[in-house]
């Protein structure tokens, strides 16, 4: 088909070709000229913007750094103080526990949602509806105050005789309330991420596994989930980062995580801003470390797929300064 078209075109130079020729041949120069003109203009504009951005950033930083209340010596003295460090530790611990709990619940909910059982579908949807539809802060307060509503936790036949009985306040401590509140809430969000991931894997993969005699469980574990991870990891990274910061909400139930720790200190010393900066420095440090980790996990799960993982900043810098194996931007510009 294609060969026919070209062979008809070449010798004859019919009206259509002439039109095309007219349209293209003079314009090559014009396009080049325009591109050169535009590139000088856009270079000037580009530099103006860059300089403006740098000035704004420097201005903000200088205001912040040189402000009266900004006692950097105080920041320095608390940054690695044992109390703050243990707050950081507890923040990390809560993040890990809540994410693990949330992921387990999320995976279960996702499997319930894609199952063929109407009961399981409805149960999962109800859970997600409830936990996504109410504020996390309210949920935390709810778990914390559970004892006032259910003084005894019992297990047994619904509406019938109860077999096991616990004192609510001994089971649901503040710490327990925090972990439950964060984890149960996270489960609702993780379920959607898992479901999207599982459904992103072609159904043919499951069929091929079934045809080979693999059990549904093994097909899910060995074939579907590893491929779903490519879709699951990036939003989960976001969830981890917002969980890390979200743990600061549990300061409301007097858990001495990072925020509560610095709050307790500045309530005594009135060095509010420097201590909040201490907390921010730690939050920023931890989210940075997590983002770097996420980059490598994404790269791991994209094996076997020709999908480009975004460059890490290290690679970007290498490219800009021509340090990496690959050629820097310069080649692109020369080519134009």
């Amino acid at each position: 088909m294609r060969t026919k078209e070209t062979s008809e075109k070449e010798p004859g130079r019919g009206p259509l070709t002439t039109q095309l020729q007219l349209a293209t041949s003079p314009s090559i120069k014009a396009v080049k000229a325009a591109r050169n003109g535009r590139s000088t203009l856009s270079t000037v504009a580009g530099w103006a913007i860059r300089i403006f951005v740098v000035i704004v950033i420097l201005e903000v930083i200088s205001k912040f750094v040189s402000a009266e209340a900004m006692r950097w010596d105080v920041v320095g003295s608390y940054l690695f103080s044992p109390k703050v460090l243990s707050g950081v530790g507890l923040t990390l611990f809560l993040t890990v526990v809540a994410m693990v709990l949330g992921s387990v619940i999320g995976l279960l909910l996702a499997l319930m949602k894609i199952s063929n059982s109407l009961l399981l579908n409805v149960a999962a949807d109800g859970y997600i509806w409830l936990f996504r539809g109410t504020p996390l802060l309210v949920q935390l307060l709810f778990w914390y105050n559970l004892a006032s509503f259910l003084p005894k936790l019992t297990m047994g036949v619904p509406f019938g005789p109860q077999l096991l009985e616990f004192d609510t306040n001994t089971v649901v401590t503040a710490m327990m309330a925090a972990m439950l509140g964060l984890g149960l809430n996270e489960g609702a969000y993780m379920s959607e991420i898992f479901r999207a991931g599982i459904q992103s894997v072609d159904h043919g993969q499951t069929e091929a596994a079934a045809a080979l005699g693999m059990s549904r469980r093994n097909a899910m574990r060995r074939i579907v989930l590893p491929q779903a991870m490519r879709v699951i990891v990036p939003p989960t990274g976001n969830q981890v980062i917002s969980m890390l910061k979200g743990t600061s909400l549990v300061s409301i139930v007097a858990i001495s995580e990072l925020l509560y720790t610095v709050q307790v200190i500045y309530a005594r010393t009135f060095e509010t801003i420097p201590l909040l900066v201490v907390a921010c420095i730690w939050y920023l440090f931890l989210t940075t470390v997590l983002s770097i980790g996420q980059h490598y996990i994404e790269r791991y799960y994209s094996k076997g797929v020709n999908r480009n993982v975004p460059d890490s900043y290290l690679t970007k810098f290498k490219k800009v300064f021509g340090l990496g194996g690959r050629q820097p931007f310069a080649t692109k510009e020369i080519a134009h």
Binding site: G204, E207, G213, M214, N218, V305
Partner: protein, 265 residues
């Protein structure tokens, strides 16, 4: 051929609906050990559905499939049919290999990992034994040196040969092929067909849904022509492809030969 031995697959009065649409209408077919049966027919005639009922990827709503006399996917219990447990069904599927039009290789695994996965998981073969067998199979499908490659880095023809090797790794008694060359570039169709030809020569029992009439003529022991969910005509390649009795078969063949010759020029 082999009419004196017992059929390895018996398809008895198989029917299947999707909602109101009846896709299979009482299909009857016996396949004998070592036989190659090619199934041809227009799009939507139920060829894939028939094949997928053989390994119970689709549940028929009437009739049964038997593998060596044993009903596939269901058990006869006091005159009615009961679904097998997933584990029992999985055990039956080990004996029935399947090759798909779109290959369906596991994308996150290398070719070697694709082949050894099911033998290790399902058959409990040791990793070293499974790898040894996989390397033999790869050589057999002429993919030596590709064991550590990911599917997406292979051509369509190479992927389909890897998929055939993966199915063979379970040492199936029967192989089902659903249009194994339809998704391939014309240049790579031949390499897959030649592997299938060699499998037929090895005496493997095969059910092949295909539009490759030349392959059917050369390799099939029997050709089945399906239309509208039923078998219209069945016989040796010479009977069905060269001297079809039914008008519908004749029309289908003239259409497909026309489109094949158009594609070649």
């Amino acid at each position: 051929m082999n009419a004196d031995s017992d059929p390895i697959i018996q398809i008895e009065n198989l029917s299947k609906h999707y909602g109101k649409l009846q896709v299979l209408r009482g299909v009857e077919l016996n396949v004998y050990p070592g036989e190659v049966v090619c199934i041809i027919g227009p799009s939507g005639s139920g060829k894939s559905t028939l094949l997928r009922c053989v390994n119970h990827l689709e549940k028929p709503d009437g009739g049964v499939v038997r593998l060596q006399g044993e009903t596939v996917g269901v058990r006869e219990s006091r005159g009615s049919l009961v679904e097998l447990t997933p584990a029992e069904l999985a055990r039956q599927r080990v004996d029935i290999g399947m090759v798909f039009q779109s290959f369906n290789l596991f994308g996150h695994m290398t070719v070697l990992e694709n082949i050894i996965e099911a033998p290790i998981q399902v058959l409990g073969t040791s990793r070293s034994k499974a790898q040894e067998h996989a390397m033999q199979l790869l050589e057999w499908v002429r993919l030596e040196g590709k064991e550590n490659t990911y599917p997406r880095q292979l051509s369509g023809g190479q992927q389909q040969r890897a998929a055939i090797a993966r199915a063979l790794a379970m040492r199936p008694k029967v192989m089902l092929f659903d249009e194994p060359t339809s998704a391939l570039d014309p240049e790579t169709v031949g390499e897959v067909l030649s592997i299938m030809r060699r499998l037929a020569n090895e005496g493997l029992t095969m059910m092949v849904v295909t539009h490759e009439i030349d392959f059917a003529r050369e390799v099939a022991d029997r050709v089945v022509f399906m239309d509208g969910g039923a078998i219209v005509e069945m016989g040796t390649p010479a009977e069905v492809l060269d001297r079809p009795k039914e008008d519908r078969t004749r029309q289908f063949l003239s259409r497909i030969l026309k489109s094949n010759s158009a594609a070649q020029s």
